[in-house]
């Protein structure tokens, strides 16, 4: 097993970290994280535009994690809590970075990769159309927004989604997603 959660986590929290968490992703945790980040952004005196973007993107990132985490088989349960995920919110230069990490079944990777690549290769107008299409045509699953989350994040941030899949064993990989929110937001429609 080459992949080490500890090393991976240590790398992530190396910087200007607002919040770092590894463990079970549940509703209570989500509420705590949202409260914490909201008050930190207030303390930083960020303009409301930036605060709202970071908050919005954080909500989607956390709820994506919440809805899509794959549980590991029992043989790992001594190593990881159930619904194990990682969340790190940090500030790098003039960007906020929201990193999420979770185990994913290998058979789901191709689909997810294709989806993110499609989002990353779309411009603003295409993302808007993609968002509206999913909103209007796809059934809401009990798991959430039917794939709207990533499109919404890409639209709101205007930045590419950065992902990695690190092989863990025959069945699972560790999926990391980095989302960046610029501290200075340029006017749209220009």
């Amino acid at each position: 097993m080459n992949f080490s959660i500890e090393d991976y986590y240590a790398d992530l929290i190396d910087g200007n970290v607002l919040l770092a968490y590894k463990g079970s992703i549940n509703t209570e945790l989500i509420n705590n994280v949202l409260d914490t980040i909201e008050s930190k952004l207030q303390d930083f005196n960020e303009p409301s535009k930036v605060r709202k973007k970071v908050y919005n993107v954080l909500v989607e990132s956390l709820q994506n994690l919440f809805h899509h985490i794959d549980d590991l088989p029992d043989e790992y349960k001594d190593d990881f809590e159930s619904r194990f995920g990682i969340l790190v919110v940090s500030k790098e230069g003039n960007k906020y970075r929201i990193s999420t990490g979770n185990f994913i079944r290998n058979d789901k990777i191709a689909y997810l990769k294709e989806k993110i690549d499609q989002i990353n290769s779309s411009n603003r107008e295409e993302l808007k159309e993609m968002y509206k299409f999913i909103l209007n045509h796809q059934k809401l699953s009990e798991k959430g927004g039917g794939g709207l989350g990533l499109v919404d994040i890409a639209r709101k941030t205007g930045n590419k989604l950065k992902y990695t899949f690190v092989p863990f064993d025959d069945e699972y990989s560790f999926y990391n997603l980095d989302v960046f929110v610029d501290e200075v937001i340029e006017k749209k429609n220009s």
């Binding site: 509420n31 709202k52 709820q63 919440f66 808007k128 809401l140 927004g145 039917g146 709207l148």
Partner: protein, 126 residues
Amino acid sequence: MEPLIIEGTPKTPTVRFDAEKGVIEIKGRSIPENSVEFYKPLVDWLEEYKKNPKPKTTVNIQLEYFNTSSSKCILDVFKKLEAIHKAKNEVEINWYYEEDDEDMLEAGEDYESIIRIPFKMIEIVE
């Protein structure tokens, strides 16, 4: 018809649906993990209201945040209003957004283009 009144929480909006006045209001934050559960009574209420609506229904939507899980449910609410509008009743939709919140303005425009009832976009200036 009984009004539908739900007090807001940090993750769900304040709801005031008043059939007597023909006023429908959703205000606050809508970011629950499972929004279907929250929105079901709203959609059911509108289904009932649709049978005997006021000649004019005023809709005030003033959201600070909403997540993508809510966005589908909000569309369901608008689709009920669209049906009321199609049945030759006046439906006025006021979409409020905070000053400079272009994302919220754009979200209103997205809905407007899907349901085809003109929205009044109202910027809240502090």
